[in-house]
Every structure is written in C-alpha cells, then in structure tokens.
Amino acid sequence: MVGSGLNAKGSDSMMEDEAAIQFHEVSFATKELTILESITGSFVRGEITTLVGPSGAGKSTLFRLCNGLLSASSGDIWIDGVMIGDYEPVQLRREVGIVLQSATMMTGTVRDNLELPRALQGESLTDDEAEEYIEVVGLGKEFLTRNSHDLSGGQKQRVSIARTLVNRPKILLLDEITSSLDRVSTHEIEELIVHINQRYKTTVIWITHHLDQALQIGTYTWVMIDGELVESGPSNLLRNPENEDVRRFVKGEAE
C-alpha cells in the first residue's frame, strides 16, 4: 500500500521520501465557492514549515484536509507516502494532530482535557504522563486540577497544544495559535514548538499572520493567496519574493 500511489504519480515528486504531506492538484470547493485551487507541493518531514497569506486564502481549509476533517473535492494527498483515503479517519487524526485557533476547552479540569484523546480511545492518562505533558508546554503540575474555563487565553492555548500532543502525532498542524496572545506568551509558545520539533522530530506546519514569526520559526514557508499556493521554499523567500502578489502581501503586512 505504501508508495503505490506515489509511484503511479511519478514525475513531480522529487522530495517524496522527505515529504510528510504531499499534495497533487488538490482543490476544495463548497456549493457556493472555490476555497482551494489546484494545490501541488509538499511539507518536508521533520521540519517546521510556516504557512502565510491573507485571511480567506484557504489555509485553515488546507489543514482540515490534512487532518481528515474535510475531504478534497479533487486531487490527491499523501501522508507519509500513504494516500489519505487509505487511512482510517481515527488513525489519520491521531497521526496528524491539529491545534485549532479557538483552543476550545471541554468542561472540566485541565487534566480532564489532557486525558480527552485517551478517553476517546477508552484509555486513561497516568498521573506521571499528565505531569509530563503539562510541563512540556511550560505549565506547572498545579494547573492539572484547575478548571479549564478559568484559564487565560495563553494558558488555554498551551493546554490545547499539550492535549493534541497526547496523541503523539507525527505531524502537528498549528492554526494561528499565537494570534490572540501577547508578545511574551507568543515568544514562549514559539520556543515551545521549536523544542517539540527538535525533541520529538515532529513535523510542524504553522499558520501565522506574523511574517517575523514565519521567517524566524519556519525552515520553509508557503505563501497562499486566494486559494492558491503562489510561492514556496526556504523561508527567506519572504525577504525577496518573486511573485508580484506575494511581494504586495509582504509589503502590506510589514507596514
């Protein structure tokens, strides 16, 4: 099963062995409008790729396709060389973890929230594990007994990251997780993600609207505009984009 789809595609997959996620002419449309149009490209395994672009570019939709919350209208997606349709939805969602911008907390304690991914499998989280996960995201173990609704925005975002990590995802999708945070919290979360990437070799794809963040954190960057992937490569491309639209976007963001 592994790779069979890739061999059939052949040509444009030079990086196939390194690709954590690979897209081939992926489009997504609802009844009313086209959200993604013919996306072809890949996210490099074990690296941090940042995903930038104006709002409405289809970035969050792309994430939902990778995590299986949505299916592409056309085109193919491979996760670790396996066609996305060949995954059981539950297995896919555990391997491709997503941290949503809303950082929704379930009613209960922080520990209850951390245990959620296990509880969904009919398993539990040991106290040692709970402490380990909460410490990985820079919160003390005293937080475990706190009511999840009493947390600040930054704390919720950290718990949300830890909760996704409980599934031990190979790929981590982060959807604007620092957009509502102050500079200090943002910086701490950035360090945390770099740390997770290095410690667990987790592939990280990070949607951000801070170009500084995209440059600093990402080894690679994708720029999406109006549902299309207009430029991709090493993050430095943001310093001197080739595409006119990207140039305009970067200039606009910088001002």
């Binding site: 299986g68 299916s71 939805p89 969602r93 555990r94 973890g97 949503l100 599934n167």
Partner: protein
C-alpha cells in the same frame, strides 16, 4: 349535553370576537377559523369514533391509529427537515412507542382490548410522542449548531461521530424529557388534567378517573423517554459522512 346547549356555549367565542373588534386586536378571522375547524374536526372524530366503537372491528382500530401516526409525522417532520429521512424515522419511532405501550397495556390486562380504551390512549401516547419529537428536534438542531466547536475538537482528536455529539445528544434528550417529569410533579395542584376532568364531568367516579389519569402519566414517561432516545440515535448519524466528517451545511440549515 345537547346541541342547543353547545350552540349557547358559542357565547364564549363571541366574547373574544367582540373584544378583538373593539380593541382592534385583529384576531377575528383566526378566531372564527379556529372555531369552525375545531367544531368540524372534533365532531367528525366523534362520529368516527362512534362508528368504530359500534363496528368493533380491529381493522378500523388499526386504520385510526395509522391516521394518528400519519398526522403526527406530518406535524413533526417540519421541525426536522434538515435531517435526511426524518419522515420514516418519525414513523418508526411513533410506531414503536405505540406497539410497546399498547403491547404492555393489553398483554398485562391493564386495559380491556376494546376500541373505547385503545383509541383514546393511543391518541394521547402518539400526541405526546409528537410533541416530544418536536421538542427534541428543535433542541438537538440548536445544540449541535452551538456546540459545533466541541464537536470538531473531538473529531480532530480522533473521536468517533458518536463521541463527538454525545453531549449535544444527551443534553437534548434530557431537555425534552424534563417538562414531562416536571409537569407530573405539580399535577393536580393547580389544574386538573383534561382527561380526568372530562371523565368526572361525564359522571365517572373521581377515584376511578384519578387512577386512569395516573396510568396515562406513567405511560407518558415511557413515551417521552423512548421517543427522544430513538429519535436521537436515528438522527445523529445523518450529521456525519462515512469519513467521519461533520456535515456542517446540514446542521446549519434550519427549516
């Protein structure tokens, strides 16, 4: 009661008509339509019941119950029009509730197997089942919409559709059953139940009337619980597709 006295009783329709006219409430038309409809419908039912009782034929009993289920389905399905196949889901639910309650009533000899008992009790059971069904569908549709972020979170962490809608489902089932239980707690304190009052006016022994009323109350508890649970478990799978994806358009589309 004679027809003459019934005609005299129309004075109770005249009062609202006169008041509506003098105060410009604009309710005259609706009041007249409602009065005429209630006269025609109830008299028709009365003669129909008389005919069915006299004939003592099982065929007519079944036919009448079929009519009741048909009418109840027609009323309730508008509230659940966003759920595919709601019509047969309602029919199966009403039918099951009816078969279960009558099955117990008749097999345990709680009521005699005559049209005089079966039809009015069926009417109350199916009527209540319909109201419960509407309450449940209203609540479930709005719960699913308002807890959409939680649903997505659970799916994204590898939960199944059933786990993802567990909370909206249980909340809606509870919320639709609670009025039945609450009504039962205060019954008789403020207002005598309609059926019991009717029996007493018609000359029945009050204690006999109370015992029948209690029987109905107990029946309605079962009716309430079975209706909302069945509809709940019939409805939630239609919110998801076979890739365990939440079909957003469906839950948002209100009737």
């Amino acid at each position: 009661m004679s027809f003459i006295t019934l005609v005299i009783a129309l004075v109770f329709v005249a009062i609202p008509l006169v008041l509506s006219k003098t105060l410009n409430l604009g309710l005259e038309r609706d009041t007249i339509v409602a009065t005429i409809r209630s006269i025609v419908q109830l008299l028709a039912v009365g003669y129909l019941l008389q005919f069915v009782f006299d004939s003592e034929s099982i065929l007519y009993i079944v036919l009448m119950i079929g009519l009741m289920i048909g009418a109840a389905t027609e009323n309730a399905r508008k509230k659940g029009s966003s759920i595919p196949g709601i019509t047969w889901k309602l029919i199966v639910t009403f039918l099951f509730v009816q078969v279960l309650t009558q099955g117990i009533l008749l097999s345990l000899n709680i009521i005699p197997a005559t049209a005089q008992y079966i039809i009015p009790i069926s009417g109350m059971v199916i009527g209540n089942s319909m109201v419960l069904g509407i309450l449940f569908l209203n609540r479930f549709t709005s719960e699913v919409a308002s807890r959409h972020e939680e649903t997505e979170l659970i799916l994204s962490l590898g939960g199944t559709p059933k786990q993802a809608v567990h909370r909206p489902l249980v909340t809606s089932i509870k919320a639709s059953i609670i009025p039945t239980i609450e009504a039962q707690k205060t019954i008789g304190l403020v207002q005598l139940p309609g059926m019991m009052s009717g029996q007493i006016i018609a000359g029945a022994d009050p204690v006999q009337a109370v015992m029948f009323q209690l029987l109905i109350l107990f029946l309605l508890l079962t009716t309430a619980v079975i209706t909302s649970i069945m509809l709940g478990y019939f409805s939630y799978p239609t919110l998801f597709n076979d890739r365990m994806q939440f079909i957003k358009e469906r839950s948002n589309r209100e009737a």
